[in-house]
Symmetry: C2
Subunit: 281 residues, 2 copies
């Protein structure tokens, strides 16, 4: 997805929110905004928004000296998600369609996103998402691809959401590789967060090789790109990964909630819609 | 009022909205955002927000070549306000307290603000404002000052709101001077707009001498500053004028609706509260 004009003020807003998490020093945050402001001219609209996210969070690390501003928040989100695990497994147990229910739960987890500035309540959002209609619903196609697939590459998004991803992966009974961010960026899932979520119990875990808050192929490692090319099925969680991958030339199934109006417009859906969308399928 | 950190992304947002009113050319709007982004480092937090507004709208005029992007919108808002005039006069006629009702109407008109990015519906907003409790209510003090005053300086804010200002000024029966912006900026009231609103029928009209979307004394003309110093009573309408004048050393009565969270916090009220506040009284 390209950068829309509306993304630009939003990036400054994100810089401010992240800066405030990293430091209380107003002068340091002003310096961050000054620098990000000056960088706007170097952001072509052809870039995907998370490429700019990468620049924002590199600047935050550089200027505040704080490597992982969201560390505590991530831990607490993972703990909250883990506490819901037994109840969610029971919901799947009782459901008519285990796979679809697990997909709904994995998408519900996508609200735990500290990049977009929406407030969320995990328990309430799960309730809503379990009943909500999909705006794009390539479920039959997904099932077909899943049945045929031997290897699945699962592109993680946020910490906490990762527990809900685990619940979905448990339904696959396949060779799954879970992809994490290379370094802490926003509240995105890193190796450490994936392990805290218990992903290693049923999937391999690899890094994207990039510090960006999304899978942006040109920024990823060779190792990742080989796996991305070779996997029978690629599942991409969340908004950032969609923004980075919406134009790739292989099949990808996107599972996400449209959390901002601009991305919703790009997908031709409404804000807060849930989406299971396959491309090149 | 100082510039808060939150004002900075909001300024970019305002640049985008105003840019879109001025032109459909995405590249020109990107250029505007690039330039405004680069200017952030030159905006000290000690500046009042409308000083930056002045820079934004000067850039818009310079880069798009459009002198008055809001010209049509202003005309249509004035027309809508004029069409409500007879009904509003009747409401005042039937009210228990003509002055207070006229103040409420003048404050209701303050929603016609295209700078803050809120949507508004004039008729609905009048209904609400006529019943709404004031968060700050220096009405008795205002009445006392009004009774004693021979000369009133009335600082206008938006076009359309100016018709509601006229309704309030009609209750005074005093020597009133109405102050307009020197050039078109956002939808703020200029000489032409004041005349289209009928203000000249009952007040003198002078310019602030400044292109800023607010009264910022250091940017105003000597002529204005003399009148500002000499007036028995100064009435300041709207958010921008409050931001520019909240720290002056003479008595001022502010009438406004708190249309953004940051200004509401500065006044220790909630967003959407209505305010009649005297300082140095």
């Amino acid at each position: 997805m390209k950068t829309y004009l509306d993304c630009i003020p939003c990036m400054l807003d994100q810089t401010l929110r992240a800066g405030r998490i990293a430091t209380n020093d107003e002068r340091v945050i002003k310096k961050l905004l000054d620098n990000m402001g000056s960088l706007i001219k170097d952001i072509p609209l052809e870039n995907t928004p998370p490429e700019t996210g990468d620049i924002i969070y590199s600047e935050i690390r550089r200027i505040t000296g704080v490597y992982d501003p969201y560390e505590k928040v991530k831990k607490s989100n993972i703990e909250e998600a883990l506490s819901l695990y037994p109840e969610l497994k029971e919901i799947i147990q009782k459901s008519d369609n285990r796979l679809l229910t697990a997909i709904r739960i994995a998408i519900a987890g996508n609200v735990i996103d500290l990049g977009v500035g929406n407030e969320f309540n995990i328990v309430e959002d799960i309730k809503t998402t379990l009943k909500q209609d999909f705006a794009i619903f390539h479920f039959n196609e997904f099932q077909e691809h899943l049945e045929k697939a031997n290897s699945i590459l699962y592109l993680g998004d946020n910490s906490g959401e990762s527990v809900f991803d685990k619940i979905l992966i448990e339904e696959f009974n396949k060779d799954v590789t879970f992809v994490v961010r290379d370094v802490p960026v926003i509240n995105d899932v890193t190796l450490e967060d994936a392990i805290a979520s218990g992903i290693q119990e049923l999937a391999k875990i690899i890094s994207s090789g990039s510090s960006a808050p999304a899978i942006i192929p040109k920024l990823c490692s060779e190792e990742f790109l080989e796996k991305f090319k070779a996997a029978d099925l690629v599942i991409s969680k969340g908004q950032g990964n969609y923004e980075g991958l919406s134009n790739v030339d292989r099949s990808v199934f996107f599972m996400l909630k449209a959390k901002c109006k601009i991305l919703a417009n790009d997908l031709n859906v409404n804000k807060n819609d849930i989406i299971l969308k396959g491309i090149n399928i």
